[in-house]
Structures are given as C-alpha cells and as structure tokens.
Symmetry: C2
Subunit: 182 residues, 2 copies
DNA sequence: CCTTCTTGTCTAGAATATTAAACGCTATGA
DNA sequence: TCATAGCGTTTAATATTCTAGACAAGAAGG
C-alpha cells in the first residue's frame, strides 16, 4: 500500500488554486521540485515536504491524514441542481447531496404572478439573494419593496417574509440561507 | 515550529522495545540510518521514513499525529497506588488518574475476619483476580468457595458476590474489573 | 583478566534529492 | 504574426540522504 505523495500534493496544491511556481515561491523551493514530487519521480525529504506544505499552509499530520476520496463536488451543471419547487415557483438547490452542508443556495424562478404562498414565511437563520432577471415584490417585516435585476436583499429569516412575482415575465433570483434547511 | 522527527522516531522505537538494529532489520534499512534520523542529522525522505515505520508498524499519518506529551504513565511504585479502602479492607488502585481508563486494577488486602460488607455486591461489568497470599472466602451467585494463594476467580459482576477473609492472617488479592468504576 | 554480545555512533562512498536554467506548450494581446 | 507571459516538464550540476562497515562503550559469562 503506497501513499502516492505526488497525487496528494497535487490535490492539495490545485485545490488551493496555486500553480507549481506560486507554491514554490511561497515555500522557498524551486518549481522543478514540486513538479518532480508530484510525478513521484523523487520522494521528498520530510524537511522539504514540510517546507512545501508550509507554503499552503498545511501540517504534515494533515497532509498524511487527508482523505482524497471525500473530495467534495465543487461544480454543478444545470442538470445537477435538485428541483425542490413546483410549477409556479422553481427552487433549484446547489450541492444538495453534500453532507454537513451549512448553506442552502438556490436558483429560484417565479412564474408571472407566482408567490411563495399566501402565508408569510418565518424560520430560523438568515437569508439573502440577488435578482437576476424580472421583478419581484418582497415583503419583509411589514415593509414591501419591488426589486429588479441587480438588486438584492438580506434579512433575518425570523422576520415574516413573502416573495411574489408582480411582473409579466419570469423572475429569477439566486439566494442563500443558513443554516441549511433542505 | 519544528517537528523533531528524530525524537518522534526514537520515542516510537523505544516504546515498542526495539533496538536500532532490530528496527532497521525489520524495515530493511541500515541501523546507521536510524541513528542519523534519531539525531536529526538527516531529514529522511518520505519513502525511507515510510520503510522505517513499516517495520514498527505504524503509518505516516499516525506518526505525524502522535502526541508525545500524553505519553501515559506506565509504571507505578507502591506509593503511587491510590488507597480506596478502609482499615479492614485495603483497596489500592493502579493508574487512578488515567483518563478514559477501561480497567480497574486493584491490590486488595483483607485483614483477618474482614469482608466487603454484610450486603452482597452486584454491579455491571465483569471482574476477576488472583489470590496472592492468605485465604479468602468468595461467595458468587449462591456458591461459596475458599481460595488460597495461586487460585483465581472470574465472574459477571451482576452476580451477587462477597469477599471475606476467613483465615487468621492478611489475605492479598490482585483484581481487575471492567468498566472502570472508580 | 579476557571473550563475546549488544548497544548507539561515526565515516567514506554510492545513491538520491534538490537547484538553476532551459524547453515546449498554450493563451492573450498588440 | 510576433511578442509576452504563464503553465508544467526536463536536464546537468550540486547538495543531501543512505549504505556498508568500522568504532567505542557497556553488560554478561568464563
């Protein structure tokens, strides 16, 4: 059972969005060394591996404890968003299957005249979003306002709130809330 | 913050009771390398450190995760056993202060005629022991027997039980029970 | 006193890791 | 099209690790 230090390092580096040269600069080693290590052409000394990881930064214990198999999905295609809504109001959830998720991020689409219901909503947490397309009437804590593209909202979810599309076209919103309710 | 790979390795090796040569033989490296690593005269390559640890055996993750500061006390002098009993029955506990301890190991001394009480004892777990000196009358689940030096017992602690020194001299027992009650 | 065994350390040379610099590639923009 | 800049890779030279073997010190037994 080998460790594949190279794959581990490459995984760490790329997941931090660093190039070999950038990591090398931060770590005080050469880019060539990073390349050789990642290809398993050399087995780095503990000291140089530590130098490299210091550039991330990450400890040796974390590095060797890393479980690459649970690298969570980071990108989701249109058809990978999970539909939670109905005909009038489409709610498409990002990272639906991710365990322990802290955020609920939704792509919301309201048909003309559609609303989140007759009742006001109220629950724990906070939520916010940005209108992408169309116009939405948002009632929060007794105040009402119509938001258009580029406008946004953010409020404590404990305040009673309600969304309603008062326009004639579809309204699209990208929203986020925490803690994760779905 | 340095890692002191040398001290870690030396700690691991000695705690497994291995000499440098013996570990080297098992790991397929030379004893000199072990010596140099332990003195921090070299920083081993990950591959050779892995070879060395394979000889223990221990994983790299375990090695770097090791917390040497919580090396628990392994030996206890006579005066380091904690007295839990009374004049008639002395109960001296091994490793009393160890957190998360699973076992209660006692050196028990019963004065002539002493007993664990008039009532029968009954509690969760299992217990056993060996008589070292003197004679003890042990009642377990309605059965009674007198045990002498070298004789032993083991039973489910749920069975009602009682110890009584029926001899004229002190009786000494070494006992163990789980889970730890004291 | 020896001899023999084991321990950890040290050293010269062989093997390997690391550097510095170049290479080939792709993308971006003038 | 040419230049520029970024990317990962490769190579030759250098620095370090690693091996094989010798050394000194301590313990056990004759």
């Amino acid at each position: 059972m080998t460790i594949d230090v190279g794959a581990r390092l490459r995984g760490v580096r790329t997941s931090f969005g660093l190039s070999q040269r950038e990591l090398a600069r931060r770590a005080g080693v050469t880019n060539g060394l990073i390349s050789l290590i990642e290809q398993n052409r050399v087995s780095p000394s503990v000291s140089s591996l530590k130098k490299v990881l210091d550039g991330v930064p990450m400890s040796l214990a974390e590095f060797f404890t890393l479980d690459l198999s649970i690298a969570p999905q980071a990108f989701f295609g249109t058809d990978e968003l999970v539909e939670l809504g109905n005909e009038a109001v489409s709610l498409r959830l990002v990272a639906a299957k991710r365990p322990g998720r802290q955020l609920t991020i939704l792509q919301e689409r309201y048909a003309a005249g559609a609303a989140t219901g007759e009742e006001m909503l109220a629950h724990r947490g906070e939520e916010g979003g940005v209108v992408v397309r169309g116009r939405i009437e948002l009632m929060v804590g007794g105040t009402t306002r119509v938001l258009g593209p580029g406008e946004a909202y953010y409020f404590s979810s404990q305040l009673p709130h309600r969304f309603r599309n008062v326009g004639r076209e579809v309204c699209e919103i990208i929203s986020a809330s925490t803690p994760a309710t779905f």
